[in-house]
Structure formats: structure tokens, C-alpha cells
Symmetry: C2
Subunit: 327 residues, 2 copies
């Protein structure tokens, strides 16, 4: 910076102002500084700037996985929101709560302006760390509960709606598949809702099957096999993701099970694949892009000290009925 200042015949402070607060510097001075900077190939060191100013325009986010499209629209929503507000988004992968803890430590180490995490399941060390350092945090994909701020939708209610849809389509022997392993605890919230809604219809809620979250498409065949072994009269399944539902559809093709006539299949997540398969998948659409946008907006409002109406935002969901659950 000093070299640029000397070349332009001004003080270092004027160079700093030229980049940080251009309107403070007179037009001709600014142009002179920019010319010298360009000539010398000077790129401001944001690290030093952040350290001196104690502020950053970078937001940190963690993503459990990029294995499938689960977080695609969500991340796009975040990206759009940060772009609009002149911030940047850096992401770290965090498959497990231990990895999340490390990611949070690194992001806090980089002194990001705020954090967007996924889920409300964290390492105790993460929680106590976040309480001690005073950094704004949004937990997304959660509902009605958050350390600081939260964005999400009601997965219990979504489960109920899916069960009611299947009941309305004449199915009685309904199964719920959930994920386990990793940081998959959020799937377990669906179980009591499922059992309760089945009980209201006077039906047993015994068919709850869990599969490893690491299994992807392959989880479909595994879950279907296990469920058919438990209940040969199975009429419908609600899947934890569209990927598992797609895996079940593939397996049904191989086994000669007709969907939806023999078996109704409902997915979850409104991934692109759900509308491209045959039959098209009934699925629960979580308004993921809105969730990402809302998470970032909450964070930036908090960073900038603006008032926050709702600390916990419900972005809702849509039950998208398609062919895989019958007509």
C-alpha cells in the first residue's frame, strides 16, 4: 500500500480510503491512486483489513453433504441473498457433528460475519463455543427451536399431511422410512407424527423402517426388502428423501411391483429427479431456496443491528401430489 501511495504522491491513508470509502476521496486523486495501484498490481489484503476493522463481509455455512441434490436449491437461495447484499458465502462440508465442530472453529477462526448451520443437532463443544464467542448463528432445516435464530418448516406436520394423502387414496398398510447415522436425528421427529396420525385413523403405526443415511439410492431396495419381509400386504411408503423413493421405484421395476397400483410411493425434498421419473413422484417440497434466502437475510439483519421480527422463521412446505401415489 505504501508503494502505491508513494507512486500516486499521496499518503497511505488516502489509498486505503480510495478502496474502502471511494466517496471520501476527490475524483482526480482517486483516479491517480487507482492508476498507480493497477500499474503496480496491488491487491488489497482483506485479511489485514478485517483485522484492523474487526469486520468481515463473508458469511460461513456448513453443508452436511453434496452427495445428491438435497441442498442444491437451499445453497442457491443463500448465494442469491448474499450476492444481493454484497456479502460472500464460503462453505465447509460437515458430515458429522464432529466435522461440524471443526468447520465452525475454522470459520470462526476466519472471523466470518456470521454462520449458517444445518439442523439443530450439534456437538456440545460447538454449542458452548458459539455461546462464548459472540457470532450470529442461524440454524436452518429446523423448526420451532434454535440457539440464536432458526429457519425451517414443520416436518411433523408434513409427515401428517403425507399420511392423510395416502389414507385418502385408499391405502391402509402404510410405512415410514427414516434415516439414521451421521447427523440424521432430525428424521426421527417424523416418527411420533406418523404414529399419531395412523392411530387417529385406527391403524397401527408399526411399520417404521430406518436406513443408513450414507446409503443413497441403494437404501431404497434395502428398505423395501425389509418392509416386505415385515408386511407382505404393504400398500404405501413415505420415504426420507426422493433419492430413496427413486431407489424404491427402481427396485419395484425389477420385482415387478406396479407403482402406484400395488404400492404407493411418496418421496421427500422435491429433487429434480422426482418430476422426471415415470411415474412421477409425489413429494414434500420444502421451499428450500426460500429457506436459504431467509437464513442469510436474518443473519445480515442481525449483523447490521437491524430489528428482527421473528427469531424463528417458518418457510412452510408444499405437498406435491403426483402419479406415484395413485389418482
Amino acid at each position: 500500500m505504501g508503494d502505491v501511495a508513494q507512486a500516486a504522491g499521496v499518503s497511505p491513508m488516502t489509498v486505503s480510503n480510495t478502496f474502502k470509502y471511494p466517496q471520501r476521496v476527490q475524483e482526480q486523486t482517486r483516479l491517480r491512486v487507482l492508476a498507480s495501484a493497477h500499474e503496480l498490481g496491488y491487491v488489497p489484503n482483506l485479511v489485514a483489513g478485517n483485522l484492523a476493522a474487526g469486520e468481515s463481509r463473508v458469511i460461513g455455512g456448513t453443508i452436511p453433504s453434496i452427495r445428491n441434490s438435497s441442498f442444491y436449491k437451499y445453497v442457491l437461495g443463500m448465494q442469491q441473498a448474499v450476492n444481493l447484499q454484497g456479502y460472500k458465502l464460503v462453505l465447509m462440508l460437515a458430515d458429522t457433528i464432529a466435522q461440524e465442530r471443526e468447520a465452525v472453529e475454522t470459520l470462526i477462526g476466519l472471523r466470518v460475519a456470521g454462520l449458517v448451520l444445518v439442523g439443530n443437532e450439534h456437538d456440545p463443544a460447538t454449542v458452548s463455543l458459539l455461546r462464548k464467542v459472540d457470532v450470529p448463528v442461524v440454524e436452518s432445516w429446523t423448526h420451532g427451536d434454535a440457539m440464536d435464530m432458526g429457519v425451517g418448516y414443520d416436518t411433523a406436520e408434513a409427515t401428517r399431511r403425507a399420511v392423510r394423502l395416502l389414507l385418502a387414496r385408499g391405502r391402509r398398510r402404510i410405512a415410514l422410512i427414516i434415516h439414521e447415522g451421521g447427523a440424521a436425528r432430525r428424521f426421527t421427529e417424523r416418527v411420533p407424527a406418523f404414529r399419531d396420525e395412523m392411530a387417529r385413523a385406527g391403524l397401527p403405526g408399526d411399520l417404521v423402517q430406518s436406513v443408513q443415511i450414507t446409503d443413497g439410492f441403494g437404501a431404497g431396495p434395502v428398505a423395501l426388502g425389509a418392509l416386505l419381509a415385515r408386511a407382505a400386504d404393504l400398500e404405501a411408503v413415505i420415504c426420507p428423501t426422493d433419492v430413496v423413493a427413486a431407489g424404491i421405484l427402481f427396485e419395484c421395476q425389477r420385482r415387478g411391483i406396479a407403482v402406484p397400483d400395488d404400492l404407493a410411493v411418496a418421496g421427500w425434498g422435491d429433487y429434480e429427479v422426482s418430476s422426471e421419473m415415470t411415474p412421477q413422484l409425489t413429494t414434500i417440497g420444502p421451499n428450500a431456496a426460500e429457506m436459504g434466502t431467509e437464513a442469510v437475510d436474518l443473519l445480515i439483519r442481525r449483523v447490521q443491528g437491524q430489528p428482527i421480527r421473528n427469531r424463528l422463521v417458518d418457510t412452510g412446505f408444499t405437498l406435491i401430489e403426483r402419479a406415484s401415489t395413485g389418482g
Copy 2:
């Protein structure tokens, strides 16, 4: 840091050493410092550390998209390598070369130790910036060409191998589908290889169809429709990704086209879906995890001043033959 030092009854320098060079500090002192740090919720400010030491243990990467599994194994490979070496990986999404430029600016602003980019298609401003600041860069998913270092496989040769496989399975009227839009120029390398290999067999290489990279599964039906309009006698297609191939399989189901009897379909990328569908997809497996690992290893070797045998690493590929191209 001062607070922690005081709490532990040591000097700030010892706290610094505890985190940066644990082996320099006596066991009991180290434990005392760590306890105080934990109690006070102290997280070392990497920003200040970078500034003082002029080095960082964070590597920055850009990813074109997380829409589908394309970069899943690749990112896992990078993650594994950085974990092994005690580095951290932060990612930024960069769909276009303009977004890549911004991402690179931000990551350089954060003074990451090195950068891993995807592809060799960049904004001129990105290239000149990278030349000015002296930061190690690996370009992945490229072959035989890189600014600094490169990792990838030979997509032209892979295209040739796919063509030869289809020829060996008795197909003559073969089409190549490629992507366009965004930063998809790397797909065009496949075209001359396709035409050349077809010409060697005395066949026309006219059936090259391009689809928008933003289209995902939906690109399958679009491409298939266009190709059938151009050549009703179409016998085989080579797709730019497994997602497009899956879209074509779905469309074939709807149109009553038997795969592989009426049409052979080859995918690209060895995504999980390729082995779960019926019929299973023949696909080109790019050893993506190895590519990620190798990219990070190259970078870290360069950062640490170790000798680099090959500036350009070829991680190879595997042609995985399955049912979709016939037996």
C-alpha cells in the same frame, strides 16, 4: 489470547505456541493452556495469525455446482487429503467464470494457502490476478494444460473408448451429446475425438447434439427428441453426464424404446444412480476421488516447498460396461 495466558499463568507466546507448535510446549503447560482456552471459549484468530505469519492452513476451492453428484466424490477426495495433512478446505460456488473471478478474489483476500479450481476456462481477470499474487493453483478436471498445476484425465481418449465400445456392440448410428452454457467449454473437447473415431470406422460423425448445462435430467428428453428428429435410425448415444443418460432412460420408458435393444445409452461420470437404475448404465468413471486427493496433495507439496515430479497429473479413467449398451 492475553486473557488465556493470564488464566493459565503463562505468557501470550506460550499460548501461541500451544496452538501452533504444540511439541514446543511441555505437556503439563500445554494442558493448562488448553483448559483455560476451553473455559474462556477462545478460538485463535486465524486472520491475525495469517497476517503475522504470512501463511495459512486453509485451502480454497471452487465448485461449479452442487446440483447433482458430479463433484461429490471429488470433494470427498479433497476433504480426505486436507484432513490427512492438517489443512482445512473452504468451498465457494462458482457457476460462471464471472462468479469464479469473484470467488477467487475473495479466497485470495482471505489469503488461503492455495486454490483448487475446476476446469481451465477462466476470466482473463482471474488469470492475471493469479499471476500477480503468488498463490499456488491447481486446475482440476483438465488434461495436459494448466496455468500452474493440473489434475485430470483425457476426455478425448475416453470419448474414443466409448465410441469403440459401441462399435464393438454392433452400433453404427452413434450420437454424442455435449453440454453448452456456463463454463461448459470442457465438453467441446469431446467432439473432434468423436468425429475422428467415427471416421476411422468409416462412419459419419454428424450426430453431435448440445444441450444446456442447466437442464439436468430434463436435458435427456430434449436431446433424445432432437436426435430422433435428425436420425430416426439412431442406435446409440453417448451422454455428457449420467444425469442426462438417466433422463434419456426415463424418456425411453415413456416412448416405449427398449434399452439396450433399440437404443444403447452410455453415461459419463459414474454417479451412484448409474448402478442403481434398470438397466444399469454403462459409464465413464473419472476416478474423481483420486483427482481431489491428488489436487490437494500437489497444492500442499507446492506450499511446503517440496519438489513436484509432475506438474500435470493424469488420474486416468475407467470405462465401466454395464447393461445399457448391450452385451
